[in-house]
């Protein structure tokens, strides 16, 4: 098991250290890493004086634990992550996996520490974009809902940038297009820069509709929320355990628990639980062999008609009609 403590930044001072920690070396824009750790490429490209991109296109040949400990708190990391399989786990204080990283887009303040383990055999394709907070501030300042609170949002004593979510279809397509370009062609850098701008534009359009919660977050908070999500997913057939019990397990006040959960995932704990419950129920229905009544009982919905109503609200069709498509 490889343990790597590393950092990122807009300037490229971190490249050598990361390459060495992975038993490799820096070769121009590439970090060359030995096959025993992973096959594939790590490629770093400055996009502008305010932005740098890192492309990771690798298959891990042994488990690797990454401890991200940035010394610079002046940038935001935007991570588009297309890792296949249940490969990415978030670790707690004693490096135990507490939950799976089941999102494919993360926005993280560089002041925030993070620990991950990536399993052997997992294939990762990830575009990480490091953007100076000054530039991020200029972009977000153009969005109406940020105007009033812009200074507060960028006051690191009051607020930490953190959000785990799903990338849009457009972002997914932009990345697929980039993956088709030959990295040895001098046009790759131009296309990559174009893709990074397009992804940032796409993210701006995505964030334009989001509510902003100003709150300071540290690594332990993040671990507690991911762990709490894991718990909720384990209890997916049970009734909702209640905020007070969840907050208690996370060692937070109820208010803080609810705020952090929403800040990090964009959803309230209740909504997160319900969406996942419905999605699991839907999958079981689609596999066939069970009735709507049985599924409703299995997932502890009050009545089948209540289940049908929630299902219709979420997917736009009643479960009965949905099944008739199969």
């Amino acid at each position: 098991m490889k343990e790597v403590t590393h950092e990122y930044g807009i300037d490229l001072f971190w490249k050598n250290n990361l390459a060495e920690q992975l038993d490799g070396y820096v070769d121009g824009n590439y970090l060359r890493i030995p096959q025993e750790i992973h096959s594939g490429t790590r490629y770093v490209l400055p996009i502008s004086p305010f932005t740098t991109a890192l492309i990771i296109d690798v298959t891990y040949n042994q488990p690797v634990t990454f401890h991200q400990r940035n010394t610079k708190d002046d940038f935001i990391g935007v991570y588009f992550n297309l890792t296949e399989g249940e490969a990415f786990h978030v670790l707690d204080e004693v490096s135990r996996p507490v939950g799976r990283w089941n999102y494919n887009l993360a926005i993280m303040d560089s002041s925030l520490d993070a620990d991950y383990i990536i399993q052997e055999g997992s294939k990762t394709y990830m575009i990480s974009i490091f953007i100076a907070k000054t530039a991020f501030k200029a972009y977000l300042g153009k969005l109406p809902q940020f105007k009033e609170i812009l200074d507060e949002v960028f006051d690191s004593k009051k607020n930490t940038f953190i959000r785990y979510e799903r990338m849009t279809n457009e972002a997914w397509w932009l990345i697929e297009e980039l993956r088709k370009i030959d990295m040895d062609d001098p046009l790759y850098d131009v296309f990559l820069k174009g893709t990074v701008y397009a992804l940032m534009a796409n993210y701006m359009d995505q964030v334009a509709n989001q509510e902003i919660l100003i709150e300071k977050v540290v690594k332990e908070d993040l671990t507690a929320i991911i762990s709490s999500q894991s718990t909720l997913l384990d209890l997916i057939t049970e009734p909702f355990p209640g905020i007070s019990s969840l907050a208690n397990t996370a060692c937070m006040s109820e208010t803080r628990y609810k705020t952090l959960f929403k800040k990090i995932t964009g959803l309230s704990p209740n909504a997160f639980f319900l969406i996942n419950k419905l999605s699991s129920a839907k999958q079981i229905l689609e596999n066939g062999e069970v009735t709507i009544g049985e599924v409703s009982a299995q997932f502890n919905f009050a009545t089948p008609s209540h289940f049908a109503e929630l299902f219709k609200n979420a997917y736009g069709v009643a479960p009965k009609d949905h099944l008739s498509y199969f």
Partner: protein, 334 residues
């Protein structure tokens, strides 16, 4: 009495400083050295300028002109290259009453590439949305992106302005067209516009270089009269697509050149021989007409673009587009 034509003489540069003199001449407002807003008396809209990466800047124009205007871009000593993409300037057709041909059409080449040391003139159509992207590119950037597509001495000769003039006209490739159509949906005032515009410009540049790498290198200096003469003949061909190919002898005479010089320069600028250019354009027009929903039969379309035998037409169409005309044909409902 028609209004006097406003004639704006201006220059471009990779850096933003060229905008202020142009804004002054137009009575336009220049905001943050990137957004130029026209006074309402001249037109609705304006232009948007950005430096994208070292050696690449973009200029987007999105304007509906209300007053007759002519722009002349002056040659600069500051040496760089320009690529124009005019979305408004592609094939369009409409029904004409009371003529032999029932369809009127307009066909122009929407993309141009030239040296900043050549002068050019633009006369936009009145009361129609004019949407175009221009890329300004340094010689160093372009050379670095040509890669190993051609031997190094050929690349050097191509970019040596004492030996060669880089200049060509073409249609906008479909990937670029798609990118520009998406950008066209957005307002300059969108919070994410600057990022979208930069992303688009960089991707358009990669499409341009990919095409340029495949061009047959014809190293030759062009005088502005040669260029004008060739472009006049290519427009003559575009204006007469329904007729038969007039022949190189006729075209060379029209251009006032020997046939061999004419063929060489035409191929250098248009990237096809006069005859294949004419046939390709004829079929592009046919494609447009087939999908226009204005015809009863494929035979009618074939006749419209000058094929007396439908079979020949279908064969040529399949060769050009890989599909038969009937697969795309939309029959008129009248």
């Amino acid at each position: 009495m028609s209004a006097p034509v406003l004639h704006i003489k201006h220059y471009y540069a990779l850096a933003p400083h060229w905008q202020q003199p142009m804004a002054n001449d137009l009575g336009a407002e220049l905001i943050e050295e990137k957004l130029l807003e026209l006074p309402k008396s001249i037109g609705q809209g304006g232009s948007y300028f950005l430096e994208v990466i070292p050696g690449l800047s973009l200029l987007l124009a999105d304007v509906t002109f209300h007053t007759p205007i002519t722009f002349t871009r002056l040659a600069t000593t500051d040496h760089f290259y320009l690529a124009y993409y005019d979305l408004s300037d592609e094939i369009s057709s409409h029904i004409v009453e009371g003529t032999d041909h029932k369809i009127g059409y307009r066909s122009k080449l929407g993309m141009g590439f030239m040296d900043s040391q050549t002068e050019s003139t633009l006369i936009p159509t009145l009361n129609e949305r004019y949407y175009s992207l221009r890329l300004f590119m340094s010689k160093e950037l372009l050379i670095s992106l040509m890669g190993n597509s051609k031997p190094q001495n050929i690349i050097e000769a191509l970019f040596d302005e004492t030996k060669n003039t880089l200049f060509f006209y073409s249609h906008i490739d479909s990937s670029t067209r798609l990118l520009l159509k998406e950008l066209k949906e957005r307002s300059f005032n969108d919070p994410s516009f600057e990022l979208h515009a930069k992303g688009t410009a960089l991707k358009v540049l990669t499409h341009l270089i990919r095409r340029a790498r495949n061009f047959e290198p014809i190293i030759q200096k062009l005088s502005s009269s040669d260029t004008t003469a060739i472009l006049n003949t290519s427009q003559y061909l575009l204006d007469n697509l329904p007729l038969d190919f007039p022949g190189v002898t006729f075209l060379a005479e029209l251009a006032g050149m020997s046939e061999s010089k004419y063929k060489k320069l035409f191929t250098k600028i248009v990237k096809s021989s006069p005859k294949s250019f004419f046939l390709e354009e004829k079929l592009l027009l046919a494609q447009n007409l087939l999908q226009s929903g204005n015809f009863h039969s494929i035979r009618e379309v074939a006749l419209e673009v000058g094929y007396s035998k439908t079979g020949y037409f279908s064969e040529a169409y399949k060769k050009a587009f890989g599909t038969l005309p009937q697969e795309v044909f939309i029959k008129t409902t009248n």
